[in-house]
């Protein structure tokens, strides 16, 4: 009998791409769920890097999946640029949310200062930094947020006003996108310096560039140039692995993600976690030869369907993606629902064990 790989060996195998892992790795994109099963109030979890790490590490040990603790949040941007976020207090909110956006008028964009990383770290990056230190101490990658630039910019400003500026004030939008991308570049330099480029795994995720919000033409004109700028920096720094989560339906933006990859002359590995709206064959066509794609099971189905149906949905994803030349990981199509039953993580693990074997 051959010995089973450990989770780090399995991830290493899929990341290096030279040998197959023993089975499909499982990265359940867990954040708030970890607090829930620890019985930790969400505010304590999201506002403290040690708590964040401890809960995620406990969930990792409990379930034996391949994901390592990775700090990032959907409301990234406003706090870092001097506004305010609220930490969830258990009365309804589950994750940090925007209380005050620093940009209220077009003039505010001009005077807005890009956060620097040479003193106390801005906003959530201090939490990410502590989580990353704990990860690196244990030989795991330092994960931190390096996008999405558009989603951050749309929250640094009042979101609804920003969305109108996309049409009425494109130059102001460009100026803000430039400043937000500079913040992420500062973050990349900081983390690469501190932990070493090879130890870093930046994370880019955002829902506001979804096609339920903006057109692919807007994506091409106002989003793509800044995504390219940040990803060129990632390459220049020698970082080899990036987790990309184009959130929700971004099917019409896919050509620009492909173009970005080519324009960077990308040398490393992207891990693509598309929303459940993007089929696995479409992902394979766009990135499958070089990159790792993920079986993006609908998080709402994970929450609502019974165990057996979740196993079946995971099996369907595995059947479609398992032999992708660039590698495959079983994931949900967005964050694992914070209030889902632990048996749903087990469903993902069981599906990988039963249907995701390579030998």
């Amino acid at each position: 009998m051959t010995k089973a790989m450990t989770p780090p060996e399995r991830m290493m195998a899929v990341m290096m791409g030279q040998e197959k892992p023993d089975r499909v790795p499982v990265v359940p994109f867990i954040q708030g769920y970890a607090a829930n099963i620890m019985g930790m109030p969400p505010g304590e979890f999201w506002s403290d890097g040690d708590n964040y790490f401890d809960a995620n590490f406990a969930s990792m040990r409990l379930h034996g999946y391949e994901q390592t603790p990775l700090f990032g949040y959907a409301a990234c941007g406003p706090w870092e640029f001097g506004g305010k976020v609220g930490m969830p207090d258990g009365s309804g909110e589950l994750a940090p949310y925007v209380i005050e956006s620093p940009v209220k008028t077009l003039e505010d964009i001009e005077t807005l200062k890009v956060p620097t990383f040479d003193g106390p770290l801005p906003g959530g990056f201090a939490i990410a930094d502590r989580n990353a230190e704990r990860c690196v101490e244990m030989g795991m990658p330092a994960g931190f947020q390096a996008g999405s630039i558009f989603s951050a910019a749309a929250q640094v400003a009042d979101t609804n006003a920003f969305l109108t500026w996309v049409i009425t004030e494109p130059d102001a939008v460009r100026m803000l996108m430039d400043k937000v991308s500079d913040m992420f570049i500062n973050a990349l330099e900081y983390f690469a310096n501190k932990f070493g480029a090879q130890q870093c795994m930046p994370f880019q995720a955002g829902p506001l560039e979804a096609n339920g919000m903006i057109s692919p033409d807007t994506f091409r004109d106002l989003v793509y140039p800044y995504n390219l700028k940040v990803n060129q920096k990632i390459k220049e720094l020698g970082i080899g692995a990036v987790l990309m989560h184009p959130c929700a339906d971004q099917n019409l933006n896919i050509p620009y993600y492909v173009q970005m990859r080519e324009a960077c002359d990308w040398h490393g590995r992207y891990i693509w976690i598309f929303g459940p709206e993007t089929s696995i064959p479409d992902q394979m066509k766009a990135f499958g030869d070089h990159d790792i794609i993920c079986g993006n099971v609908d998080p709402i189905a994970i929450l609502e369907k019974p165990y057996a149906e979740v196993v079946q949905l995971c099996k369907d994803a595995i059947d479609e993606g398992k032999d992708n030349p660039g590698g495959f990981i079983l994931t949900p199509g967005c964050e694992f629902p914070a209030d889902a039953a632990p048996i749903k993580v087990m469903a993902m693990m069981d599906a990988a064990e039963q249907f995701g074997r390579y030998e």
Binding site: V98, T159, N160, I167
Partner: protein
């Protein structure tokens, strides 16, 4: 110069020109209801139709909302003087725990475009916030938005408590994870999948 110019300017996203165009029509003694129905409301209907088909996106719809606001700003004093009644008064907001407000804003705009008076109470509202806005404004309908499965229980709670606490108000719900079946289960009077459906539901509720 004709009402059609207003219509076309809205479809061309020239929101800054709408107030002037409406004023010019008024100066020409054009019938106010013609400006409202064939200019502003017809244009909003068309934007809504194109959005539902995926031909337009959220920024374009939000510009449409600005056009509507600019046009209504000129018409409102006259409508008030002529005693024109809104088709109904609607309080709209997202429920406790939910910060997603883009869809709610679009629905508010479509309802306003369709001739309802809309009181937008923003995000993260509990029952008390709805009750206050409903009683302060003597509202006919409470429209609740939820984008998160985790805020759907709050929606159920608010719908139930509104029935107990304010008589005569009808509820309608919407947001991506909700459905007709969910609305029925929690005892809501109505449901809408998007802006145009929200308008249709509101019209039905007013006729009840």
């Amino acid at each position: 110069m004709a009402v059609a110019d207003i219509y076309h300017a809205i479809l061309a996203f020239k929101h800054k020109e709408i107030a002037d165009l409406v004023q010019k029509e008024l100066d020409l003694k054009t019938d106010v209801s013609g400006i409202l129905n064939d200019g502003l409301i017809a244009a909003m209907d068309e934007l809504g139709r194109q959005y539902s088909q995926g031909a337009l996106f959220v920024p374009e719809m939000l510009i449409g909302a600005l056009s509507m606001k600019n046009g209504l700003g000129v018409l409102k004093p006259i409508l008030a003087r002529t005693n024109a009644q809104p088709k109904g008064i609607i309080v709209i907001g997202t429920v406790k725990g939910d910060q997603h407000d883009v869809g709610k804003n679009l629905v508010a705009m479509m309802l306003e475009g369709a001739g309802f008076k809309v009181v937008d109470i923003g995000v993260d509202n509990d029952t008390a916030a709805f009750v206050k806005a409903i009683t302060d404004n003597n509202a006919d309908i409470a429209a609740l938005s939820s984008l998160l499965t985790t805020s759907m229980p709050a929606m159920e709670k608010i719908v139930t408590e509104l029935k107990e606490q304010v008589s005569g108000v009808k509820t309608m719900v919407g947001g991506a994870p909700t459905s007709m079946a969910f609305a029925e289960r929690i005892g809501s009077y109505g449901y809408g999948g998007d802006g145009p459906e929200a308008v249709e539901t509101a019209r039905k509720l007013m006729a009840l």
